[in-house]
């Protein structure tokens, strides 16, 4: 999924609108709501700036939605709490055919939706058909097109997807039109979670506000722009889980305010704003409460390979040499690792021997001279209009000035930026990032740099026939060693072609209260909260 910078996102105009909105709301809301939890209940308090976009698994494709969707819904298989290995969720066991075209899952028979109905294989088939139905406009559609008959179903030529078979309520079989060894990973995305047909039919588009799933928590209350409350699902199929009675997230709280609330004990988990990060690291009491994880994310400065002067590979390489990635990482308080290429270090298939482009301004100037720009050139970079991005962009601007490149900054909204980079020959330079959906190099190399993704996710309009040929050879291979060897070779071509300035791999830091236990961060998904528990503490409400 498209990654956003998560430290200190402060779109100021949105904040003003939010304040006005909050004032208007508070004016018409009198008194406090009746308490949901009895005194002494184990409730985890969180805070976030943005409201949750959606709770409908077919619709959500962002970190905030997924965090709550994975608490309310179950998939056949999922990732382990702190790793990227697939573990059983509702499916107790699964098998794959040797050619990776048929996948069979055997479901547990003790799982129920929170409305009391048993979860059956047909619920998974229904969920995927819902995602594949163009009327749902699901962003997850692309991932399941490889299922046999999916195209016919999407085009309205078939009433159901022929390649999804449900011989009995506890078995589901997927037949694919071409080998895809990483298909199970696609079933671990929330798009493929079981949803009850009768509830979706009752609420239609409004399902997101009335979600019913089989997961560890149930939605209790969701007041747009204010708060979202989940309560424990007493019938969750894993005994003794969740340990919490509920989770409450206050909405409209920016990172700085989160920190104040954390200090007073009002919230249990918090991000660490850049300004206090050095202080936290110098304070042993606070440092002991921090948690760190290298996420599967790459941040880059994309160059449009169809727009001069970036049509010249020497210019693109010069840009890579000219930018000091260590300085960028220092500016974000060391919360990142300078990038050596496309694939982040926590991703299987990462190439530790790849050297990338060290900071070398002299070499950058030499390359620019060879390319016919002895005095540099002027360029405009597009970037999301938030405080952290503006600071990072100014660091890049400083570095490029030394190589003679006069960089102008063009801050725009996140959504318009995503639209613009899909238009050919529109955006010469842009800051962007990508976070893995599943742990495989294909999720970066295929999605971001192949010719097939021009106008979609290949925002640098990079094309190398040799690179594409390697991807095609790697795709059907199930053996990780052979698969990763080909992807490594492909990555080297991409790095040599330099469609991006490979900036850094971000590291996420979180802080928890001393009374929060059992929390594990995941490199690819929001943290699961079902095994978290809270010990008695002074600020308990």
């Amino acid at each position: 999924m498209r990654a956003r910078v998560k430290t200190a996102v402060r779109p100021i105009r949105a904040a003003i609108a939010a304040i006005i909105f909050a004032l208007a709301l508070s004016a018409c809301r009198a008194g406090s709501p009746a308490p949901i939890f009895p005194p002494g209940a184990q409730v985890l308090h969180l805070a976030s700036l943005d409201d949750v976009p959606t709770l409908d698994p077919a619709a959500g494709y962002d970190v905030d939605s997924w965090m709550f969707e994975q608490m309310i819904f179950d998939t056949l298989i999922r990732y382990s709490d702190s790793g990227v290995d697939l573990v059983p969720d509702i499916a107790a066991a699964w098998t794959a055919s040797p050619d990776s075209t048929v996948f069979t899952f055997h479901l547990r028979n003790d799982v129920r939706f929170s409305n009391g109905r048993a979860v059956a294989s047909a619920d998974f088939k229904y969920a995927l058909e819902r995602v594949l139905d163009p009327k749902t406009r699901s962003k997850g559609m692309e991932y399941y097109r490889g299922i046999l008959g999916a195209a016919d179903f999407a085009a309205g030529r078939a009433k159901s997807v022929a390649g999804i078979e449900t011989p009995d309520p506890s078995t589901i079989v997927f037949r694919l039109s071409a080998p895809d060894p990483i298909f199970p990973h696609k079933l671990a995305m929330p798009f493929a979670a079981a949803v009850p047909r009768e509830v979706v039919a009752r609420y239609g588009e409004d399902f997101s506000r009335h979600v019913v799933g089989s997961g560890p928590f149930m939605l209790r209350e969701w007041i747009g722009g204010q708060r979202i409350v989940l309560v424990r699902n007493p019938d969750y199929f894993v005994k003794g889980v969740p340990r919490l009675d509920g989770v409450v997230e206050a909405i409209g709280v920016n990172e700085d305010l989160q920190w104040f609330r954390f200090e007073t004990g009002a919230i249990d988990l918090s991000a660490i704003p850049p300004a206090v990060f050095p202080f936290v690291m110098k304070t042993p009491r606070l440092k002991a409460l921090t948690m760190r994880i290298v996420t599967m994310t790459t941040r880059y400065l994309g160059m449009n390979c169809q727009m001069p002067p970036f049509t010249d590979v020497r210019v693109r390489r010069a840009m890579n040499y000219a930018i000091d990635k260590r300085k960028l990482v220092a500016v974000i308080n060391g919360r990142g690792i300078p990038a050596n290429g496309v694939l982040p270090p926590s991703l299987p298939g990462y190439d530790p021997e790849l050297r990338g482009y060290p900071y070398d301004p002299a070499r950058a100037r030499a390359l620019l001279e060879q390319a016919g720009y002895p005095h540099g050139f002027a360029a405009t970079v597009w970037l999301p209009a938030d405080q952290t991005m503006m600071i990072l962009a100014q660091s890049v601007q400083q570095d490029l000035a030394l190589a003679g490149v006069d960089l102008k900054l063009k801050p725009v909204g996140f959504a318009p930026l995503l639209d613009a980079i899909r238009q050919p020959k529109t955006v010469p330079l842009f800051f962007s990032g990508w976070e893995a959906d599943f742990p495989d190099p294909a999720n970066f190399l295929d999605v971001l740099l192949s010719r097939a993704q021009w106008g979609a996710n290949n925002d640098s309009w990079f094309y190398d026939p040799q690179f594409d040929a390697l991807l095609a050879r790697a795709k059907p291979l199930a053996d990780p060693a052979r698969r990763f060897a080909l992807y490594r070779e492909a990555q080297r071509i991409a790095v040599a072609g330099a469609p991006w300035v490979f900036l850094y791999f971000p590291v996420t830091w979180q802080i928890r209260q001393p009374w929060v236990h059992g929390l594990a961060l995941n490199p690819m998904r929001p943290a699961r909260l079902d095994r978290v528990w809270i010990s008695p503490h002074p600020s308990a409400k």
Partner: protein, 274 residues
């Protein structure tokens, strides 16, 4: 005639002169390049020290040098925007006040409409549409802050155009343009001077406000408003990053205000015209 400045004016003039000198000689006065990283204070701003008297920001830039160079952007915007403001305001005010009748009603109703719109909000909307840049900021500030000037100049022109010396000139057969240029305009001049001095402080503040909303002069050009905006996250841990540019804005606004009010007092004009 010997020019005798009063105390307020003297202080104001000296302060404005100081500001102008800092802006003009910024390259000689600033110890460092304001846009370069000169301290290794990345992500963790340095407090004031001997090497960096006002500290260094999260991008390793010297705060003192940035404030010195920031005077340039502020002064250019303040003075140039004021010039545009005056050009529009004085023209409309003189025309309305001198011509009267339908022209007056039309121009003043238009001015009233402009006055109903909050200046900062209007400026934000315009800058967003026109793309931030020095010229845009100048034009936008000029285009939205002329209303006060127009109203005051109109009132002054109205009263002057009915005085005996104007009536006498008219009786002698002076044409309208001649009446405006030779007789009305020179007598409106004192109030224009006051409006200009006081107005610069207004445009300075508006510019700082726009910069704070990231709609001012784009980086790497240092501007005081943006310096404060960039340091909001560091309010508790590195307050000097915001305090010093804030003091710079205070200084500049005070300088022009003192100059304007001092002049007002010397000429015995009524301060409530502002």
């Amino acid at each position: 005639m010997k020019l005798r400045l009063n105390f307020m004016e003297t202080v104001g003039a000296v302060m404005v002169l100081g500001l102008a000198i800092v802006a003009i000689f910024a390259p000689q006065l600033a110890p460092h390049d304001p846009a370069r990283a000169v301290a290794a204070s990345f992500g963790d701003p340095w407090p004031p020290s001997l090497a960096f008297p006002l500290g260094a920001d999260q991008l390793g830039r010297d705060v003192l040098s940035r404030i010195i160079y920031g005077a340039r952007a502020s002064l250019i915007v303040g003075v140039a925007a004021m010039a545009i403001t005056l050009a529009i305001g004085v023209t409309i005010g003189l025309a309305a006040g001198f011509l009267g009748g339908a022209v007056d009603s039309l121009l003043m109703r238009f001015t009233d409409v402009m006055l109903t719109m909050p200046a900062l909000l209007l400026a934000m909307a315009l800058v967003t549409v026109l793309q931030p840049g020095l010229l845009t900021v100048l034009l936008v500030i000029g285009l939205i802050s002329w209303t006060q000037v127009a109203r005051v100049v109109r009132a002054e022109a109205l009263s002057i155009s009915r005085r005996d010396f104007v009536l006498a000139a008219r009786a002698l057969g002076a044409t309208r343009p001649r009446l405006i240029i030779r007789h009305v305009a020179p007598n409106v001049m004192p109030i224009i001077v006051v409006m200009a001095a006081l107005g610069v402080s207004g445009t300075l503040l508006l510019d700082a406000g726009l910069s704070f909303l990231t709609l001012g002069v784009p980086p790497p050009t240092p501007s005081w408003g943006r310096m404060i905006e960039e340091s909001t996250a560091y309010f508790r841990t590195a307050p000097w990053l915001a305090i010093f540019p804030g003091l710079a804005i205070l200084y500049a606004v005070m300088a022009f205000n003192l100059l304007g009010h001092g002049y007002l007092r010397r000429r015995g004009l009524n301060a409530s015209t502002r």
